[in-house]
Amino acid sequence: MMKRLYSAVVDGKGFDILLVGLPLLFLITFSGLPLLYNVLMSFQEVDIFSLGSLIRPFVGLDNYRALLAQPEFWPIMWNTVIFVVCSIFGQFTLGFALALFFDAGFRGASFLRGLFLVSWVMPGLVVGAIWNWILSGDFGVLNYILRATGLISENIFWRSDTDFSLWAVIIANIWLGTAFNMILLSVGLAGIPKDLYEASELDGANVWQRFLTITIPMMRSTIGAVISLGLIFTLQQFDLFAAITSGGPANSSNVAQYWAWELSFRQYDFAKGATISTIMIITVMIAALLYVRSTRHEVRG
């Protein structure tokens, strides 16, 4: 028996099963189970005293009702939508423009393009700290530049003005994500055969027509993947909120993923934290499904 097991591992499929089984077990234990546990908690009463016990009183949909009844629920959800949509729009357009520019293929293009990625490898909290300082009201360099160029006449209090606090985080997040978008879109651009452009130029298409009839259709799956990835990364953004506005003032820059943490670790209301997490995780899963679908033929290729 032991001998058979040994030879299966050394020479047969047992080796593969072992290699893939351990990590999957790990993932299921530390990612999958928390996921289910989260859903379970959203139907339970959880407070600081019942934290240690696994069996807690069930309260049905009370947590969901209470959460929806909170006045800040819908504003925060709306903030989340604005944050996601504007961040993705900004990252994608800037990233695409830069990718097209660097696709011209001059000396040093790939080195400079690679440098952009520093924004992506820096710790999110450091990026947040830098932007916090740049966006400072009285002494921030952004206000100075905007005033010096005549774009604004009064300082904008990015972090403390409820009209601007969300935008402060969005600006920082666009900066953070543009490079990654650009790199992925560059790969897509590089994959378009150059003779397609030459053929369409011979057919009499101008630059703009070539962009619309060749670049965009050929990039469809890449664009789909980049936007879905953008959605996933944007919904994961937490550090910038912690470093720039802490969701304030008065929840004006709060979003679901930061609120969930605040409920659990600031107000110690783990049940509500789990509830909002459950709602958001379902949203993210749907985004992930879209991503998988958009890259499906690449996965299978």
Partner: protein, 362 residues
């Protein structure tokens, strides 16, 4: 020849899910022989070879190497060497390390390894390249390294998986001879997979023709050429391919009436069932221009190609008949021609089953 066969395949079957890849294959391979597995792509020849190596498992049946059943034996305990189509040279090792890899795994003493590498390198003419990495070699040199990696082990069986298909035409002809010479020199048993019937015919002592996962026919190269058991083998072996014309045995059973314009009647070398529908197979090299008065196929040359040594005549249209002549035929396109063939060279096949109807024996 009471010697124990080197390899025996007994009713080997292989299923991939719902796909029946190998169907009841039985082949016996004598020690020291060179066997070619040949067939069109998807016929199962590579799967069969990989099953021999132990890289694939078979569903039912038995594989024996020197009498020992190896169905469950992992590749490393089968004592077989394999030359892959892509050569599969380890890119991070030098030629010397590639060739000595298997001996180093067996913990053979270093002096013995060095001697073995030196000898293999000498046989293959690789002495000057031993410290290069594979990506610094030409296609032909890589091929030699792959062979060196195999012969250095002195295994029970050599397996070749289309080893020449990545080489250009002239090198391929050269390597064909070299592999054959190497086989004679080391005297080991070789199993060689190819889709190229010329390779199979020129190199092997024993050819196994596979089609759709089963053995269509096996035998010596010339027996396959002279006595194809099926229409498939007849069409597969020989170049240019055999011409097929449908027809019918005449009332006296001694001739065949061909389904061609002019309804030609050709005499057969032996009796057949009168009135039977047949497919007649006529090899291009057996057809020739008929002298007057001989029963012949009356047709027209649609094009004439001469290579200098031989002439190809393309005659008629439906079906087209190709003639290979050793002469310089003074013909031009559109001219009428009369074709004849010796009665013993006419092959007959059943139109439904494709099986040979015992003609052209001898």
């Amino acid at each position: 020849m009471t010697q124990q066969p080197q390899i025996e395949l007994v009713s080997v079957n292989k299923h991939y899910g719902g796909f029946h890849a190998l169907k009841d294959i039985s082949v016996t391979i004598a020690k020291g022989s060179f066997v070619a597995l040949v067939g069109p792509s998807g016929c199962g020849k590579s799967t069969l070879l990989r099953s021999l190596a132990g890289l694939e498992s078979i569903t039912t049946g038995e594989i024996r190497i020197t009498g020992e059943t190896v169905n469950e034996t992992p590749p490393r305990h089968r004592d077989v060497a394999m030359v892959f189509q892509s050569y599969a040279l380890y890119p991070h090792m030098t030629v010397r390390e590639n060739m000595s890899y298997s001996l180093r795994l067996k913990r053979v003493p270093k002096t013995k390894i060095d001697a073995a590498v030196a000898e293999a390198a000498k046989i293959l003419g690789l002495e000057d390249y031993l410290d290069r990495k594979p990506n610094a070699l030409s296609g032909g040199q890589r091929q030699r390294v792959a062979m060196g990696r195999a012969i250095i082990r002195n295994p029970k069986v050599f397996l070749f998986d289309e080893p020449l298909s990545n080489l250009d035409a002239s090198l391929r002809v050269h390597m064909r001879k070299e592999i054959r010479a190497l086989h004679e020199r080391v005297g080991a048993t070789s199993v060689y997979v190819t889709h190229d019937q010329i390779e199979a015919m020129t190199m092997a002592d024993h050819v196994v023709v596979l089609k759709g996962g089963s053995v269509e026919q096996q035998g010596t190269p010339l027996s396959l050429y002279d006595m194809p058991a099926t229409k498939f083998v007849a069409g597969f072996i020989g170049s240019p391919a055999m011409n097929f014309v449908s027809g019918e045995i005449t009332g006296d059973g001694g001739s065949v009436l061909l389904d061609l314009p002019g309804r030609p009647i050709l005499p057969l070398a032996r009796q057949a069932t009168p009135g039977r529908k047949v497919e007649a197979g006529l090899r291009p090299e057996h057809l020739s221009l008929a002298p007057p008065g001989v029963p012949a196929i009356e047709t027209r040359a649609s094009s004439v190609e001469s290579t200098g040594s031989v002439t190809y005549l393309y005659c008629g249209g439906d079906p087209e008949i190709i003639v290979l002549s050793q002469e310089r035929e003074p013909l031009s396109s559109g001219e009428p021609v009369r074709l004849t063939i010796a009665p013993e060279n006419i092959h007959l096949f059943d139109p439904q089953t494709g099986l040979s109807i015992g003609q052209a024996a001898g």
